[in-house]
Amino acid sequence: MNDRPYSASELLICLASRLMDDRTTAFIGTGIPMLAASLAQNRHAPDLVPVFEFGGTGAILEKLPLAVGDMRTYHRAIAASGICDIMETAQRGFIEYGFLGGAQIDRYGNLNSTSIGDVRRPKVRLPGSGGANDVGSLCWRTIAILHHDRRRFVDTVDFVTTPGFLTGPGAREAAGLPRDTGPYRVVTNLAILGFDEVTRRMKLLSLNPGVTVQQVIDNTGFELLLADPIGHNDPPTAEELALLRERIDPDGLYR
């Protein structure tokens, strides 16, 4: 994408940011979600309420946090409490969105961030759930952000760290997870994907600039449903890029 005036990260940030509605609560993890949340607050969602798992609620993201517990996560915040209060707030149904990452995702949006290979003797030991399982269990709608390739978009994840729709329709409810919750969007360097209301399977919704349907299919290790019609995602606007580069991350920490 060298011919484009924006980086792959910048595109992901802008796509994620546009999914953040004003006046909603969103669990923000380290990295791209932090930039996306800051961009949203600066642009279309001044009343976005960022929630950080170790206690920050409603911070003004003037300075970019470097970690989910750092002091910028409660900079001029509404409240600075602790992880139990935050997770219980999610458990009571107050947190609308949750942003997640992962090493693998399957057609039902289940995410693996625990291990590649058998967890008892892993080929690659990954950092573990952290708050991901909780975000995926307790928020209303989760949005995963991943790099799109066949190593990551797999038929079966090696370990279900974080629940998507588990084995399909009704499985979350049967397991006891809160009603009407689950994966909402997957944002990748190629496209934005959603989930079919009936089958709960992943569905291609809209393509990033210059990307074809076939490219998405080729980089996905399971059969994708296709929206009809398939939309097209706008590239980052000049305004978005200016905000990102000049105000939000002037030092290029995340570029």
Partner: protein
């Protein structure tokens, strides 16, 4: 009486080991024996570790990542050469160092990584080689709620997390049908630490502690610890505590030792006091990629100095001064 009054079905039992089984009666008896007197607990880090941490203990650290971590105490623990520790793997940077030092046999695991910088090679080497025995999976909320159960003095808490996942399958949770509503719930067993380590903004010499900004899981972990070691940026008079008793998050009777550690979270940050030493942390990340590098890091930045004060000298007063914040964030004093 409804049908379920005959009994509650257990729907699933996690296959993970219960590394530290809850015994609330023993915890009560232990807590009863702790002194309730206002006695001076201010001591140095070596004495604190010597007296209150034993080989084989189950230990835990607050907070997370590189934020308000008791790094001075962690380095003292490594210098003291404690062995066969079992840990709650939620502290992140401390856990990294303990794994690098080969001090850990079992882990209740939720997250040990470098946040935006990705996986921890110390963790990878320890877990992929099988050097660590039991590795039981949890989430951040699950481990915090396990502390909270212990803090409440009950053997478990019911929750709606973990359900349906391999995380639950590899945990020691049990799933039941709720006797009031019928919904499945994950019961998380209480986790009582042998020793908890917490770094705070200020404490008095009896152990009363204040923390500015987010409290992470300090409130719960302090109450879930049989023995509790506190390091503090600042030692204050008890009068400062009594003037604002609603700011006491950790009361003295929970605490066994208080150590004065300015820059105690270094190379991590301390809210309102100093920023993370990103330069040093990046060096650590670079070095820890190999076992040799990790050992060299421990040799140079832990064992090469006798204590925290000497380490701060080695880091250099100018370097530290540059990390200081002019204006407090979060909680104005």
């Amino acid at each position: 009486m409804t049908a379920q009054d005959d009994g509650i079905p257990i729907l699933q039992v996690g296959e993970g080991a219960l590394i530290q089984p809850p015994d609330l009666e023993a915890f009560r008896a232990f807590n009863r024996a702790k002194t309730k007197a206002l006695v001076d607990k201010l001591t140095d880090e070596r004495d604190a570790i010597d007296r209150f941490v034993a080989d084989g203990d189950y230990v835990g650290f607050e907070l997370y990542g590189t934020v308000r971590c008791p790094m001075g105490l962690t380095r003292a623990l490594i210098r003291a050469g404690r062995r066969r520790l079992r840990i709650a793997g939620q502290g992140v940077h401390e856990a990294d160092l303990l794994l690098a030092a080969g001090m850990v046999t079992d882990i209740d695991f939720t997250y040990i990584g470098q946040e935006v910088y990705g996986v921890s090679d110390c963790v990878r080497r320890a877990l992929e080689s099988g050097a660590v025995g039991e590795v039981v999976e949890w989430s951040n909320a699950a481990l915090s709620w396990r502390f909270k159960a212990a803090a409440m003095g009950v053997p478990f808490l019911p929750t709606r997390t973990l359900l349906g996942t391999d995380t639950l399958r590899r945990s020691a949770a049990k799933v039941i049908a709720c006797p009031f509503t019928g919904i499945p719930l994950a019961l998380l067993p209480a986790l009582v630490l042998d020793v908890g380590f917490i770094h705070v903004h200020r404490a008095d010499r009896f152990g009363n502690c204040q923390i500015d900004g987010i409290s992470g899981f300090a409130v719960e972990m302090a109450r879930a610890s049989r023995r509790l070691l506190i390091s503090a940026e600042e030692i204050v008079e008890t009068d400062a505590i009594r003037r604002q008793p609603d700011r006491t998050l950790i009361p003295y009777y929970l605490v066994d030792a208080v150590v004065h550690h300015p820059f105690g979270s270094w190379p991590g940050e301390m809210g309102g006091r100093y920023e993370r030493d990103t330069e040093h942390y990046r060096m650590f990340l670079e070095w820890q990629r190999t076992a040799e590098g990790a050992e060299r890091y421990l040799a140079d930045w832990v064992h090469a100095v006798p204590d925290h004060a000497a380490l701060l000298e080695k880091v250099g007063p100018e370097h530290l001064a540059a990390l200081r914040l002019d204006r407090p964030e979060g909680a104005a004093r």
